[in-house]
Symmetry: C2
Subunit: 314 residues, 2 copies
């Protein structure tokens, strides 16, 4: 199985409104509730790709109970592929609210901060995490840290996973990413903006190479509609869809992470991993449901992804 | 005790953000959870005024359980004054999200539609309601109807309350208000806009008198910062604060309803009721916490409310 970690899980609410107007009152026409947080989204996509996953992290309070109920009953038609190994916390799991304008699909996001995690809860988590490594083939560490967890938390988890001989992918930002990279994860998957903040280099090729020098074995940078840029032990590649895709980008990054993890456990080469990650990411943007991917579009895009090697001058 | 009915209760969430920007992502700095829906707000204010209240209506699902927990533990420092007689429903109680801009306190409101109420659940509710009338001294029927409840529901409840010899106040809008008025409630408390929609008359004095002719014994129209306009069996009055108050108007209408109910059970005359309702409403606008009232401001405003009699030419 593949283990995904979501320290700041969320009960994701999607509200459909005709159009969001600040300081006005809105009747929400449709409400969708889903278990959320990057690692849970990655697990859902892995399930759709036929991979067994275990999700861990924290869940607490009535919102945490709702999230676990939604996981148990299966969402997106995938009961039984995502196994709940979440650790209880005294505080309540945060909500996120995505307000979608019916007219154009534009989304306004409101994210609660998440519960304070006590030191004893973090200790209970690392014990659980270490136990779960035993049955895992790869590990993904995903998303922001909730309040109370030390900023080197991901570095600590990267070291535990690598000590267990497991490949580990880190998908976070800011100082937790900076510290995590120094612990030498196998893959990081920042977007161009996160990478620019980390390295100070605004040019994505330069920033990607810089991030690799800081310790990550492979850096896969999301360029949004233009695909992925990767600096790996086997070479440099840019993978791009045949044309930039338009749609809802929510979850496109999580789909790329899922494809990269699937590639890690299947032992495919980097060009194949990048092709799948780019196609799956584009197929997620094209799906009418946020965070799901359009299977037909995925199959159709796979043979049409172009791989180029950026100039070595960089 | 005073009985308040909230058929479409809500778990009210207040999100504080620096400023709401459509199509951007926001970190919510502060989250407040409260049991909501107009009748629950009225009950909370009545509790602060020293009146025992019983709240009924529907609650269901995990959000309904959260609402009932918040009621049981007491909110706004008032445990024990609001008694829960909510009736279970299979669907989940709606959430409302109020997004407050830190800069100016402007609020953007997102309201979920509420659960579908089955005919058997409505029958269970009317039985419960009839039973509760036994110990009540006044009844308030508040807010919108959730899906599934017939549009004449409030008219039905007005008749039941009046058959039991109890004074009944109706605070709703649209067709449920139109039908409810025909059942001859003791008081309705529309705002000027709701009244214009009901009567077709945009001029508030004319619309207030028109609404009274349709069947309500007394019509108390909210004029926003300019106070209240009342057409009663004892005469016409306009009650106004010494100057229009600025602040958060959330809950000001519910405070006016609470004061009118307190006046009904205390048997005060109409000028006294209107003075209290206007002062309490203004003190709610002045409170930093939405839906609560500033007690000092309330006491200070009471002797400064002006009562005038509108021209009989209208």
């Amino acid at each position: 199985m593949i283990l995904t970690v979501t320290l700041n899980t969320a009960l994701d609410l999607t509200y459909h409104v005709p159009a969001l107007v600040p300081h006005a009152s809105h009747r929400v026409s449709q409400v969708i509730e889903r278990p959320g947080g990057k690692g849970l989204n990655v697990a859902r996509v892995l399930g759709a790709l036929g991979h067994e996953t275990v999700v861990t992290g924290f869940a607490g309070g009535p919102t945490g109970a709702m999230l676990r109920d939604l996981l148990a009953t299966g969402t997106a038609g995938l009961p039984g592929t995502v196994h709940d190994a979440l650790v209880p916390t005294a505080g309540a799991t945060r909500r996120t609210v995505a307000v979608v304008d019916a007219a154009n699909g534009d989304t306004t996001q409101l994210n609660e901060p998440g519960p304070d995690i006590a030191p004893a809860e973090w200790a209970a988590f690392t014990t659980r995490f270490t136990g779960l490594l035993d049955g895992a083939r790869a590990v993904a560490l995903c998303g922001s840290l909730p309040p109370g967890i030390h900023v080197g938390a991901y570095a600590e988890l990267v070291r535990l996973a690598r000590a267990a001989g497991l490949p580990v992918l880190l998908d976070t930002s800011g100082e937790p990413l900076r510290r995590g990279i120094a612990a030498r994860p196998d893959v990081i998957k920042p977007n161009a903006e996160e990478l620019a903040r980390l390295t100070g280099a605004r040019e994505p090729h330069r920033a990607t190479l810089d991030a690799r020098r800081r310790g990550a074995h492979a850096v896969v940078t999301s360029l949004g509609p233009e695909g992925l840029l990767a600096a790996t032990p086997d070479g440099l590649w840019q993978a791009a869809p045949p044309a930039p895709v338009r749609g809802n980008p929510t979850g496109a990054g999580d789909s790329a992470v899922a494809a990269l993890l699937a590639g890690l456990v299947d032992g495919t080469d980097w060009p194949t991993r990048l092709t799948h990650a780019t196609a799956l990411s584009a197929a997620t943007v094209l799906s009418p449901v946020a965070g799901e991917f359009d299977e037909e579009a995925y199959e159709a895009l796979l043979p049409r992804i172009t791989l180029t090697t950026p100039s070595p001058a960089l």
